[in-house]
Structures are given as structure tokens and as C-alpha cells.
Amino acid sequence: MDATQLPGAGVVTATAETDLIRARDIASTVVDPEIPVLSVADLGILRDVEVRDGRVTVTITPTYSGCPAMRQIEHDLKTALGDAGFADVEVRMVHSPAWSSEWITPEGRRRLASFGIAPPGPLGEVLCPRCASGSPRMVARFGSTACKALMVCTACGEPFDFFKEF
């Protein structure tokens, strides 16, 4: 008898597919601990999710070299998938091609702005997340995290973080 005709074979395949969809969904919802409105999918660092023989392999690309959140994200991915019943989870870090802030999704950009962080814009445009004025002043090139600079809006006076073009 052919292996695919064994009782339950079709069910196994369907389960494998469901597992992959579930694993992808769960991995996508893990958030950046520094910017909790942004999921790893929105941030553009989630590169691949694979399920093979019950083992989940999640591939991510680090943002800034000095981003301490990467270790936490790795841990959170393992925990989230573990809680959903995936006991064997590997998180692989792939450096090439290098991440770029262009990989942040349109949804991610909207979420950043609603959180009070100006997203990197086309042609270096920086809009105040409060009044949308486009004339901010740079206060400090190095902000509260590796990915941000500190700005102040010259129109409404709001100080805000800017997610740097990278």
C-alpha cells in the first residue's frame, strides 16, 4: 500500500498546512519590545517561517547592529510559539540582505505615527506626529533607542521621536 493511502495520511498533510499557517500567524503578532505597537512583521524583520517534522524555524534579520531588542524578540518568538503548542522552535538570524527601514510596512508606518513616533518618510520627509507639520528641528541625532532620533516640531512645539531612515 502506498504511504499516502494509509489511513490518516491526508489528515497529517492538512495538519502540517494548518500548523504552518498557525505558526506564521503567531510569529507575525510578536511585537518589538521597545515599540510595542509594531509587530515583527510590520517592522519587516520577519523573513520566513517554516514547519518541518514538528520543528518551527523562524528566520529574522536584525535591524541596527546595536539593537538590544533582538535577543528579546528571539525569546518572545520562542515563548509565543511554545505557548501555542510548538515545543521545538529555532530562531535563525540572517544578516544578508541587510535590513532597511524601507521594509517597514505601510501599516507599520501608520502605527508608528499613531504611537507618536514619526516614521521614516520618502525623501527624508519628517512629519510631526501631532500636527503633521513638516518643519521639525533635530534636537539629538541619537535618541532613546538605536533606531530613533529626537526632534521637536517648530509649528506646535511637540517634542517627538523620529524613526531614522536606515
Partner: protein, 243 residues
């Protein structure tokens, strides 16, 4: 110009380690400024830059461990090698001195890193190319910071000018190491950038051509041993310790 990235595995390992050591040692030095910088923004900037250097070092050590193939991890390579095994340039281990000295040291190093990473961004080694592409963007950002400070100090008050010139005079002799081990071709472009910044800062390169080197061969000044003793103490006392 000789090939920047050696193809033989052993040479490639040495090259990766030298690049990683440079970044680790400078990260440690810049970290010493945290809570001591002249202003809050600078405290944060130096902490951020130190973290970038540390991140580059970690990625390079991990990759070096893979190239070596003996199972050594980033921690083994960073924390379990002795002073004689470190191949970092003499420049990066030099003490912070005053703020001018720290900024001049970073100017010399950041300019070198911009050259190095732009070359390696299209390396055949995909992992290294990825690390380089990311490090290049960061190095450019760091260079903007260090060159802006050197210009502000050099073209500032009489006191800041004097200190900045003293820093250039003191550190110039340690720059030869940066161009040993396959990266010699970069010295001209490097010096051109440095001269542009120093001109604008009203600073001059010392006439004395004396250069001290040896870092790439493991011959260091008295400063590296102290730095490593402090940095490696925990892993040496409690081998294999993890958070």
C-alpha cells in the same frame, strides 16, 4: 590594491577577528563615557555608538566561529582570548583622555570603517556582505557625529583648539595598524577624508611621520591588558556563566 577579504579560510578568520576586535575594544572604551559625558545627549550618543560597535563585533565573532568550524561562540572569542590573541589596532585601545581625544580617535576609526564596509558590502561572503551593508550605514552616522565634534572643538575656543590639536598629535602615530592586514589600499582615501575634516577644524596633521604598529600581530600597548581584565573578569572567573 590587495584583496581586502582573504580567501583562504585561516586568513579569513584572522581578518574577521581583527575587525571584530577593533569594534569590541572601541565599544568598551566608549562605554566608559556613559554617565561621564559632557552633556546628557552625548551620554546617550556615545552609549548608542558603543552598542553599534558591540553589535558589529558580535555578528563578526559569530561568523568567525562558523568559518573556524570548531564550535567557538561569540562569547568564547570575545571573552576567552588573551591580550596576545587580540588583533585590534593600537588606536582603539588608547585611553579616552579628554573628550577631544575620544572624538579624534573616533574620527580616525569611523573614517576607516566607512571605507572598509563599503568595500565589503558586495563581498562573495553573503553573511559578511550583510553585516557590512548594515555597519556601513551606521559608520556613516558615527562619522557625522565624530567629524562634527572635531570641527566644533578645533574651530572653537583657544582651549578646545589646543586640546583637539594635542589629541591629533597624540593619536596620529597609532593609525598605521588600521591599514595592515590587507586593507592598505584605503590609506589614501582615508587620509583625504581626514584632511578635509581637519582643515575645516583648523587642525593639522603632525609633521613627525613616526608610526607605531603591531596590534594586528598581537603586540599591544600597556592599555589593552587592563581593558580586557575588566571586560573579561566575569567569564574568566566563572567560565560558561550565562545570564
Amino acid at each position: 590594491m590587495p584583496p581586502v577579504l582573504p580567501s583562504a579560510n585561516g586568513d579569513r578568520l584572522v581578518f574577521l577577528l581583527a575587525c571584530a576586535d577593533d569594534n569590541l575594544v572601541l565599544a568598551q572604551r566608549l562605554g566608559e563615557w556613559i554617565s561621564n559625558a559632557p552633556e546628557l545627549e552625548e551620554d546617550i550618543a556615545l552609549g548608542n555608538i558603543a552598542l553599534d560597535h558591540l553589535g558589529v563585533a558580535r555578528a563578526l565573532y559569530t561568523h568567525a566561529g562558523e568559518v573556524e568550524g570548531l564550535g567557538r561562540t561569540e562569547d568564547d572569542l570575545a571573552m576567552r582570548r588573551s591580550e596576545r590573541d587580540f588583533m585590534s589596532a593600537l588606536l582603539v585601545e588608547q585611553p579616552n583622555g579628554d573628550f577631544a581625544q575620544t572624538m579624534v580617535r573616533s574620527l580616525f576609526f569611523d573614517t576607516h570603517q566607512v571605507e572598509l564596509w563599503s568595500d565589503l558590502s558586495d563581498s562573495d561572503d553573503a553573511t559578511l556582505a550583510g553585516i557590512a551593508a548594515r555597519a556601513l550605514k551606521e559608520a556613516r552616522y558615527h562619522l557625522r557625529h565624530s567629524s562634527a565634534w572635531v570641527i566644533r572643538l578645533g574651530d572653537g575656543t583657544e582651549e578646545s583648539h589646543r586640546r583637539a590639536q594635542e589629541a591629533v598629535d597624540a593619536l596620529w602615530r597609532y593609525t598605521a595598524d588600521l591599514f595592515e592586514g590587507g586593507a592598505d589600499g584605503h590609506r589614501d582615501q582615508w587620509q583625504k577624508t581626514i584632511e578635509e575634516v581637519l582643515d575645516e577644524a583648523r587642525l593639522t596633521i603632525p609633521e613627525d611621520p613616526y608610526q607605531r604598529s603591531g596590534g594586528r600581530r598581537g603586540f599591544h600597548s600597556e592599555h589593552l591588558g587592563h581593558l580586557l581584565a575588566e571586560m573579561q573578569w566575569m567569564q574568566r572567573s566563572y567560565p560558561g556563566l550565562e545570564w
